[in-house]
């Protein structure tokens, strides 16, 4: 029995029928063709598929699509503006070398956005704790942590 869903995805209303077992990850990637969100483990261990549901970071591989009715979902595609301009967190990842192979990057960026929304000035320890569920094999996390610190600094500077 398909479930009728209506939700906000990256600023646009989506109406779609989904099977009850469909994962949010597959709704995004397969049904809606938004492939920016990555699947790297499918069991909630690596964070590559992190998206925001009503501002909260979730592993979209563990989240049933049927649960997003009436919510606001933000994926990596939703961070760039209409002209493809990068958000401040994305700019910081570019500037500070936060991406290497780039496969964990969309999930890392989404987790960073969720963290900074909750805690605009995280300490390094708080950043590292927030990233515990997001695995990266390339970077050793150093430049990712620096990217998030830079994003926090730049948003502080922008407010002044």
């Amino acid at each position: 029995m398909a479930i009728g869903l209506s939700f906000q995805l990256n600023g646009f209303l989506v109406n779609v029928d989904v099977e009850p077992h469909l994962r949010l990850l597959d709704l995004l990637r397969v049904v809606l063709g938004e492939t920016g969100t990555k699947e790297a483990c499918g069991e909630g261990e690596c964070g590559a598929c992190t998206v925001l549901v009503d501002g909260r970071a979730v592993n979209s591989c563990l989240f049933l699509a049927g649960e997003v009715g009436g919510t606001t979902v933000t994926t990596i595609e939703g961070l760039t503006d209409a002209n493809g301009g990068l958000s401040s967190v994305q700019k910081a990842f570019v500037e500070m070398g936060g991406a290497q192979c780039g496969f964990c990057t969309p999930g890392m960026v989404m987790m960073a956005v969720a963290l900074l929304a909750e805690n605009p000035h995280p300490s390094e320890a708080e950043i590292r704790l927030a990233l515990t569920g997001n695995l990266c094999r390339c970077t050793g996390y150093v430049q990712i942590v620096e990217s998030i610190k830079e994003a926090a600094r730049s948003s502080l500077a922008a407010r002044r």
């Binding site: 483990c41 595609e77 780039g102 496969f103 960026v109 390339c138």
Partner: protein
């Protein structure tokens, strides 16, 4: 000191925006019209005879388009020993063995169909360790070689030895000798982007494979052989490389899943995608080889090394990949890390019924360095010499020719040692932390830095094509997999050609457009690409300057008219500038000896358009140049273990401070200092990324990672049970320093930097643990259980 405009800067990687925006396309993101999804039925035994395969239920499942077994399709043989086939017939030798495969209209249907395939096996006794494989009367993994000749043992036909000097005399003459056994486990490359490919044929039988590979041109050769086996001799195999979600050596061989995708695409005349899950990545891709070492080293009264003797045994698993040649690379450190006059190196690689292994970053070097650098500390203690002093006494020097014949024209090892000791306050701190269970350790590295010759050519070609707007389109056969090849290459092209980095556009790697390259491995990418690029850029500049002779005066006059300037009679004579007087910098043609006037500078795109649209129809000139670089190296004689396989050698030292919890055995890293001789920093941001990432993998190797198997079955095929270091685990400062020795063979003096980071981390940590609590762990990883057991034995 040369002044560079772009080399050595922190400029972000060119593909960064697409990666942070989720726009970079990996295999998993790519679809083709009409695409089918492939799924493989893997073996259910480590060693068994295949009695019967029943695919009837799978074939009749709606949505299934093809089910194939080895009996239905031509044999596609692969591997450098040609000992592997795409679909197995007769018997299976490992759990990774591909027995059947399905193509269906969705991944779910393909998965269900695979589950419906029934196979009857007759289980056979297996061998799961080198000891078992080498025992008298052990079951044979392979009864015949690829030519059908009988095989009588499980020892692989790969010889790699080195014997120089008089070992027995050196042993007798040594004042101190350390002897020990060391081992390293199997670990996983654990790329975040899982393996996969898309294979498709056109209606003339030409094949395109979108492949997660580090070797597009060797893969093209392998796939061309497959076409031949399919009766498609003369057809074209094209390899296109999408964004790669990390590789670390896993893309150094072609894989069974790629051949099976080709077979399914051939059978169905549809594009077929094969996409591994994480569990498949762990279970059915190939990990880093384990290794067991026996090592003896000796020194004289003053601590000068007298000999080094190493015997290594490796459990290769069931089939040969390039990973079976780790000893070739082990030879570099075994013979040439420190000055050692007498060397004995023997290697034995055995077939077992474990999953076959393949390459991973460092390729034998982290393994052998684990044994050497742990043993050096043991020897130093016997000799009563500080481990840092021991390393300084024996450090390689520039100009050394090592026992393997490696020509160390530049060598910054001594400087790396000094800086590391200084940063760690070694003299005061080491040996003084026992009460607080804190300790310092260090370990050195040597790594190929100028390619690594393992094929008859170690070359790379490049094409630079300038368009009418001053943009450079680059076709290069090497692969960007996250390491920062494109970062370094962009800066090297902008520096050597004289254009802005933002005017450099590197094309997607594609065998149809890029010139031949042997593959992206052995830290060779930036070294090779840079040398090739400098060659092409030099030719391109000559071509630009020759064309400028004709059009420059007119362009200057146009500028004058545009600017409304009138110039006096004593102004610079721009009409008689010759080609050797021009320079090109950041996309502007100018004459260095001329006064700095805006009308005397011509933007490159304007100049090229002027040539292109000149009355003589561009004078037949294109602004495209190619260059092929073959490094000045030797293919070693592996029977002797001799030959200068790289154009230069990177060196480095890592120093670590640790604290050990004696109640739990847990090792906490407090600090890592890594000082590396990389010749020259090209892209500083990418270089740091390579070092941080390599060290993080080294920490995983040292403390956490191990593939656990039972009778050939992998027990921890996922991130739940296989521990990768997290951001919280790596919560210590990593301090990087670079020693720039400016190697004459390197582009702008650079040496390879991809692998050094991972090489000495584990022994540096183990040496620090010894300093902290006095226990020496011989077998990686240094888990709390092992450290605690050693502490309990120490107390007993």
């Amino acid at each position: 000191m040369t002044e560079f405009s772009h080399i050595g800067t922190e400029r972000p990687r060119p593909e960064a925006a697409d990666k942070v925006g989720g726009k970079a396309l990996y295999v998993s993101d790519i679809s083709r019209p009409g695409m089918l999804f492939g799924q493989i039925k893997f073996s259910e035994h480590a060693h068994a005879r295949i009695k019967r395969i029943d695919t009837s239920a799978a074939s009749s499942l709606p949505g299934v388009r093809a089910v194939i077994t080895g009996d239905d399709v031509p044999e596609l043989r692969y591997g450098f020993l040609r000992d592997n086939v795409a679909l197995k017939t007769g018997k299976v030798r490992q759990f990774r063995d591909e027995v059947a495969a399905v193509a269906a209209i969705s991944p779910e249907i393909a998965q269900r169909a695979v589950e419906l395939i029934r196979i009857d096996y007759e289980p056979l006794p297996g061998v799961f360790s080198p000891d078992e494989a080498l025992a008298d009367g052990a079951p044979l993994v392979h009864e015949k070689d690829s030519r059908g000749n009988p095989i009588t043992s499980n020892v692989m036909p790969i010889r790699c030895v080195h014997h120089s000097g008089d070992l027995e005399t050196a042993k007798t003459a040594s004042a101190f000798v350390s002897e020990g056994e060391y081992s390293v486990p199997r670990i996983q490359q654990a790329c975040l982007g899982p393996a996969g490919c898309i294979a498709e044929f056109d209606l003339d039988g030409n094949l395109t494979v979108t492949a997660k590979t580090q070797i597009p041109f060797l893969a093209q050769r392998d796939f061309t052989n497959a076409l031949q086996a399919l009766g498609l001799t003369g057809r074209n195999a094209r390899v296109v490389v999408p964004s790669i979600g990390g590789a670390f050596g896993s893309g150094l061989d072609t894989h069974g899943y790629e051949y099976i995708a080709i077979l399914l695409a051939w059978k169905t005349a549809k594009p077929v995608k094969m996409q591994y899950s994480r569990k498949e990545e762990f279970s059915y891709l190939s990990p880093r080889q384990s290794a067991q070492f026996m090592i003896r080293q000796g020194c004289d009264d003053e601590g000068k090394l007298t000999f080094r003797e190493i015997e290594v045994t490796q459990d290769n698993g069931a089939y040969g990949s390039w990973g079976a040649t780790y000893p070739n690379v082990m030879l570099v450190a075994a013979t040439s890390l420190y000055r050692v006059p007498v060397i004995s190196f023997d290697s034995t690689i055995v077939y077992t019924n474990n999953t076959y292994c393949q390459a991973m970053r460092g390729y034998g070097n982290p393994e052998v360095t684990w044994a050497i650098e742990s043993s050096i500390d043991e020897l130093a203690e016997k000799a009563g010499i500080d481990p840092y002093e021991m390393r300084m006494i024996n450090a390689n020097e520039p100009g050394d020719l090592t026992p393997m014949g490696l020509d160390l024209e530049t060598c910054g090892l001594r400087e790396c040692l000094e800086i590391t000791a200084d940063r760690l306050n070694w003299a005061e701190t080491r040996g003084s932390g026992r009460r607080r269970r804190r300790g310092l350790g260090m370990a050195s590295l040597i790594n190929v830095g100028g390619g690594g010759k393992i094929y008859r050519s170690d070359g790379s070609g490049i094409i630079l094509k300038l368009d009418d707007f001053g943009n450079v389109n680059v076709s290069y056969g090497g692969v960007e997999m996250g390491q920062g090849l494109y970062s370094a290459l962009t800066l090297m092209i902008s520096e050597s050609l004289g254009v802005k980095p933002e005017s450099v556009f590197i094309n997607q790697t594609d065998t149809a457009t890029a010139p031949w390259d042997v593959g992206t491995h052995a830290s060779r990418g930036a070294f090779m690409a840079g040398n090739a690029a400098i060659g092409a850029a030099t030719k391109l500049r000559e071509r630009i300057f020759a064309a400028a002779e004709d059009v420059y005066p007119d362009e200057v006059e146009r500028s004058l008219a545009r600017l409304g300037e009138e110039i006096g009679p004593d102004e610079y004579d721009y009409r008689s500038v010759t080609r050797d007087q021009f320079d090109l910098k950041d996309g502007w043609l100018h004459v260095p000896e001329a006064p700095d006037r805006p009308w005397l500078r011509v933007e490159l795109g304007r100049l090229l358009r002027a040539v292109h649209f000149s009355e003589e129809g561009g004078k037949g000139t294109t602004f495209t140049e190619e260059s092929f670089y073959e490094p000045p190296t030797e293919l070693p004689d592996w029977e002797k273990g001799y030959g200068n396989m790289s154009a230069n050698y990177s060196f480095g030292v890592q120093g670590v401070e640790v604290e050990v919890d004696t109640d739990t055995g847990e090792v906490t890293i407090l600090r890592v200092v890594a000082v590396t001789d990389i010749g020259r920093a090209l892209s500083l941001q990418a270089l740091k990324g390579q070092m941080y990432g390599g060290i993080a993998q080294g920490v995983g190797y040292a403390l956490y990672e191990e593939i656990k198997t039972e009778d050939g079955r992998i027990l921890n095929p996922g991130f739940v049970d296989y521990k990768l270091p997290t951001a919280a685990d790596l919560n210590f400062p990593i301090e990087l320093e670079f020693v720039e020795t400016n190697d004459p063979t390197g582009p702008f003096g650079a040496k390879g930097a991809g692998e050094p980071g991972i090489v000495p981390t584990a022994p540096a940590i183990a040496n620090a643990v010894y300093d902290a609590v006095g226990v020496r762990i011989h077998d990686l990883p240094l888990t709390p259980e092992k450290v605690l057991t050693a502490l309990q034995e120490q107390n007993a």
